[in-house]
Every structure is written in C-alpha cells, then in structure tokens.
C-alpha cells in the first residue's frame, strides 16, 4: 500500500489552497503545508496570537522575541501583514473570515466531527488552545492526519471516541492513503494515492466510505 510521508501529505493538501486565500495552519504537520503551496499563488497566513501575514523563519540573529507563531516558533511578517490583539484575532476566526483552517486530528467521524485536543488519558492535563475556535470559525476545515494510529487503529470512525473539538466541522481529510470529502451521505474517497485501492482504504477505516464519484 502507498503511504505518503508527512511532507508529501502536506504537499498534496497544499495543491488545494487557492490563490488569494486567508489560511490558518495548525501546530504540527499542518504548518508544513506552507512550504508546498504552488508558486504564483498568494496566500496570507493567520496566526491566532495576532498576526495576519506570517512570513518565513527569520535569519539566525534577526529574531524578534515577540514575533512568534502559534507553535511558538520565531517567524517574520510579510509586507502587507499586520498585528492585532487576541480578541480581534479570534473575532477574525470565529466570525468566518478565514477561508481555510488546516488542523491535525486524532479522529474524524463520518459526519465531520473532529477530535483533536484530548485523548481519554485522564491523568494527562488537557490543553485546547485555539483548536475549537478554528474548527467552528473557518469557512473550510481541512484535516491533515495519518489514516490510522501508530498501532494501526482507524482514526476515521462512525463516531469519535475521544472528546470532540467541534461537531460537523470537517470538509475534507487528507491522510497518508487518500483524500476524503465529508458529504451528507458520509465520507467519500475523492483521491487514492499511488496504487491504493478503495478496498485497501476502506479496510483501515472505521466507517463505511463512499467510492470516488
């Protein structure tokens, strides 16, 4: 079975970021997407700590200690970018002004529920950050995650077993095996990577998939 590595997964998703989009990339694999958006497309990245127009990593020695992204890495501001406070930043998110949020995921359900902030480990302190706001706020939510857990358990399920981040929020799932779209009838496979067959993907999925149209 063909399994994309994270950079390839990010690269595949990046093809679906249109020119002129306002995009928020979640912590982890999602931030890699910025590296692969095709040339010629102008995309403006939002960071929930109050930046619109996040630019690349600064040259060593030129870091501004206050200028970090949501993952707390040093970044720069592109020409035409601007700053605002967190309340304004989340107004931007919650108010439906961002075109796309790319989020990581622990689990996605057949009806587009997302679980990506807490597991069922009660001892480990929970942390939510901006995930819930992004999931309900962005016009389109893409989830970028492996198709299964390291142990091979399916992450696309009839219903999430982990605590939910948002309900009915996911539009598409980009995994290492395929691209799936959440439709009213359930998840539909819209692209199979390499020589993966629909049956291969269905076999490692915890809910019934619809075949490519």
């Amino acid at each position: 079975m063909t399994r994309l590595e994270p950079p390839q997964m990010a690269e595949r998703l990046a093809q679906d970021i249109p020119d002129g989009s306002y995009v928020n990339l979640g912590i982890g694999m999602p931030v890699m997407v910025a590296n692969y958006v095709p040339e010629g497309r102008e995309v403006i990245y939002h960071s929930e700590n109050g930046i619109l127009g996040v630019g690349p990593t600064p040259e060593p020695g030129t870091e501004d200690p206050d200028l970090i992204n949501a993952a707390k890495q040093y970044v720069t501001l592109i020409k035409g970018g601007c700053y605002f406070d967190t309340a304004d930043s989340f107004a931007m998110m919650r108010g439906g002004h961002l075109d796309i949020a790319v989020l990581g995921g622990f689990q996605v359900s057949a009806d587009g529920n997302l679980a990506n902030w807490a597991t069922d480990n009660e001892k480990y302190p929970p942390a939510v950050g901006g995930a819930m706001d992004l999931s309900v706020g962005a016009k389109t939510v893409y989830v970028l995650m492996r198709h299964t857990t390291k142990a091979g358990e399916p992450k696309i399920l009839d219903a999430c077993t982990y605590p939910l981040t948002g309900t009915g929020v996911v539009s598409r799932i980009y995994t290492d095996l395929a691209v799936l779209e959440i439709t009213d009838e359930g998840p539909r496979v819209v692209e199979l990577f390499g020589d993966n067959s629909f049956e291969d993907v269905q076999a490692v999925t915890g809910t019934r998939l619809l075949p490519p149209a």
Binding site: S47, E48, N49, G50, I51, D64, P65, D66, L67, I68, K72, L77, Y83, F84, D85, T86, A87, S89, F90, A91, M93, R94, A118, K123, Y124, P125, P126, A127, V128, G129, G130, A131, M132, D133, V136, G137, P163, L164, T165, G166, T167
Partner: protein, 223 residues
Amino acid sequence: MIDKRVASLREAIAGIKSGAAVMIGGFGSSGIPFELIEALRLHGADDLTVISNNAGSHEIGIATLLRDRLVRKVVCTYPRSQGSVWFEKLYEEGAIELELMPQGTFAERMRAAGAGLGGFFTPTGYGTKLAEGKETREIDGVGYVLEPPLKADVALIKAHKGDKWGNLAYNTAGRNFNPVMAMAADMTIAEVEHIVELGELDPESVATPGIFVDRVVAQEGIV
C-alpha cells in the same frame, strides 16, 4: 496630575493579596511580563489564581510561581506547553486546580468583563466536553454556549512603550492578551521596555489607552 509611573517593580506589585485572581499577559514567550512575575514571586502572596493562556514552562515566568507553590488554580487554554514540567507535576499531584477553556472564549470573556457585558453566546465548544454544564441555545440553526465575563483583581501586562498616563504601545505580536487583560482587571500593572514622554506615542497606535492602566513600571533587568 496624572502620573502612573512607579519607581520599582516592588512598588508596582505592592498590595497584591494572597488569594488574589491575577491575569498575566503573554503567549508563549511573547509579551510576557517576566519581571512583574518575578516581583510577584518575591512579594509573598500565595493561594493565587493565575489567569493566563499558558501555565509556564521550564524554570521561568509562571512556572516559578507554580514551583514555589504560590498558585491554587490556573485558568488557561493551553497548560501543556513544551517544558511545562511544574504544571504537570502539580497537576499529577492534585496540587493545582485547572479551569480550561478555548482560547477565543478566554479572550472574549475577558473582553466582556472589560466592556461591561453580562455574557455572550459563542459557537465555540458547543457539543463538546468544555460546554458541559453550561447553558446552550440554538440560534438560526447554530448551537451556542453562554459564556460569562472573566474578571480579575489584578492584571500584570507587558508592553513595549508606555507613558506616564498609562498609554501603551506593543511590539509586533507581543500584544496578544495584554490589551484585553488591561480592561478586565480592577488594577492593571504594566511592565514596559521604555517609558516615553507624554505625546511621544502615536495616538493611532496606542493599543491600550491609559484609562485601563493603573501603574507603569520600567524593566529593571531582574530576569
């Protein structure tokens, strides 16, 4: 005469009582009032409720308040940053209380407090564990959670520049939670890199008008 400058960090945090609810600005390491936190640690108040996006990491900032067991409760969105060993240790011990909420709800609740609102309906968190026990309502087909304002006794904030009237300007993304916290506390104390003359700040880029600020102190380089 309005002069909110105080001469030292020690004076800046004078009067903070044990049991106080203290907002602390900043996100990650950006826009954090590290010197005020250190002054608060040395000040002696304990049983504090700390309201801040993160719960500190390594041996700096909020983590030192936790390490010295001055904090009873943390109200935040993301306590589990890299190196947040003190929070994790106390949490495991059951020695610290945690109130967790989504980051946008956190910011908006403080803004509501500062703006005199009694609460607001947000779609964030609807249908999730973080809405359990809260009033919810469906409006035009969308589910919302009612969230109350979030106030504090004191806000410790960090700005780039400040003047004697308490007007503040920030540096890049150092703004983050500082402006809403300034509005939401009974007493707001600002640590600034530079105290400037009245009129030196551009009136169009004062992100925190002085009316929200009670004390302004220049950094002393203690951390």
